[in-house]
Symmetry: C2
Subunit: 251 residues, 2 copies
């Protein structure tokens, strides 16, 4: 059965605070799962600093390669928030004060509080559409195949909800996970055979070391739910042949 | 005062499990802080899938740009572990069974258990040196300016300890963090002035939304500890001028 062309995506995380180790990025995992539920394949993620040339180069590399690019970070009112200008530079356009964004933000603040710094959050690339921010008003933007979102997780999540209706959807990837205590080195040969027999299923092996014991999670992922289930059943049978057991978990 | 050339680094995370959202990457943050303590600047991070061409392209882009590249993931015994072959391809070399790695691993396993799958973990790029793995024996490797490590955090951390003596060190970046409840939009103008006055200090503004209240962390980072402290004192004074207070935190 021939598959339609996959819908692909990349994430561009913009922020010195991730690269310094100060802040643990959790947006990538959230966006990955969000896109996965829509049948969109996340193929790459990059983290770059708050430096315009770095943002431009990465964005141009990614937007040429994938169906969508999602950026996080750098759209606030302070001097280190340079994402809108960088995105505009990547697209070869200027920025302007978007009337609708200006009006929404003017309505949010008390008289005299909608100052120049806050107006910067409405200074967006020419040709971009707004992405609604139900948390704190200042919008994200959508230009070409690029969605520009906030870095604060609560706001990013609200923006993803606003973006969702605009996205093409693909066939969802199904996953089955079998957990076992058999070491990877003992199950590798049998697992490889199952992978060879199911080329449309991606089988991954992920060892873990925990205080309550070590083990491995064997994950079968693919768009054909029946074939994923067949692969998982074969993994369980392979483990039984090794005199061990595997338990299904929802990872 | 002229600074010596910075020592820079990139991280290449190799693994479908990060891009599917199944696994939360924490290695990037750990490595960022580890390198920071050595005065090495992490400038970029990328996540790519378990696909040789993707690993090769990313690795070649990164190793040409930064002093060091650190990879995580894909060096186990299962079919989805393809990092050593990919790194060899990036360097245009083959792989071979490294005698010292073979001997160490043969000694670890019981007779008959050092099978073909496990031998793959000793099949490393020609010209690479071993990186010791005190947790589970199977080594990482060091080739050119690239360090290839495991993805399991416990093992990656042991490998970073083994790598540390090989790394050049730079001047450490000092940081001071002032936390306040003043909204970013009110402090942005004053903060920008402080940034303009201290070009060698990078000042970042990071809002947070928590159940116990919202706020902003203002972070000054730089290699001159006295100038970082001066910037932090100016941030505190600026907040006082706004009728608010800032508290120092160790972030």
């Amino acid at each position: 059965m021939s598959q339609p062309a996959p819908i692909t995506a990349a994430i561009l995380v913009i922020g010195d605070e991730i690269l310094s180790g100060r802040t643990q990025d959790t947006n990538t995992g959230y966006i990955a799962r969000f896109l996965g539920a829509l049948g969109i394949d996340l193929r790459e993620a990059r983290v770059v600093p708050d430096v315009q040339a770095e943002i431009v180069d990465a964005l141009n590399a990614l937007r040429g390669r994938y169906t969508y690019v999602f950026t996080t970070g750098g759209i606030g009112p302070t001097h280190d928030d340079i994402t809108f200008e960088a995105v505009a530079a990547a697209f070869g356009v200027g920025c302007y004060y978007h009337p609708e964004a200006m009006a929404a933000m003017a309505a949010r603040y008390k008289p005299g509080e909608f100052n120049d710094a806050r107006r910067r959050m409405a200074y967006i690339p020419v040709g971009a559409e707004l992405v609604r921010n139900t948390v704190s008003t200042a919008p994200g933007v959508h230009i070409g195949n690029v969605f520009v979102m906030a870095g604060v997780p609560m706001i990013m999540r609200a923006m993803m909800d606003a973006i969702e209706p605009k996205l093409q959807r693909g066939a969802v990837v199904h996953a089955a996970t079998v957990q076992t205590k058999v070491p990877e080195g003992r199950l590798a040969e049998g697992l490889k055979k199952i992978q060879v027999d199911h080329k449309e299923v991606a089988i991954g092996s992920y060892p873990f070391y925990r205080e309550d014991g070590n083990g491995v999670q064997l994950v079968a992922r693919g768009r054909d739910a029946a074939e994923v289930e067949t692969a998982a059943l074969e993994i369980e049978a392979m483990l039984r042949d090794l005199g061990a057991e595997g338990i299904r978990i929802t990872a």
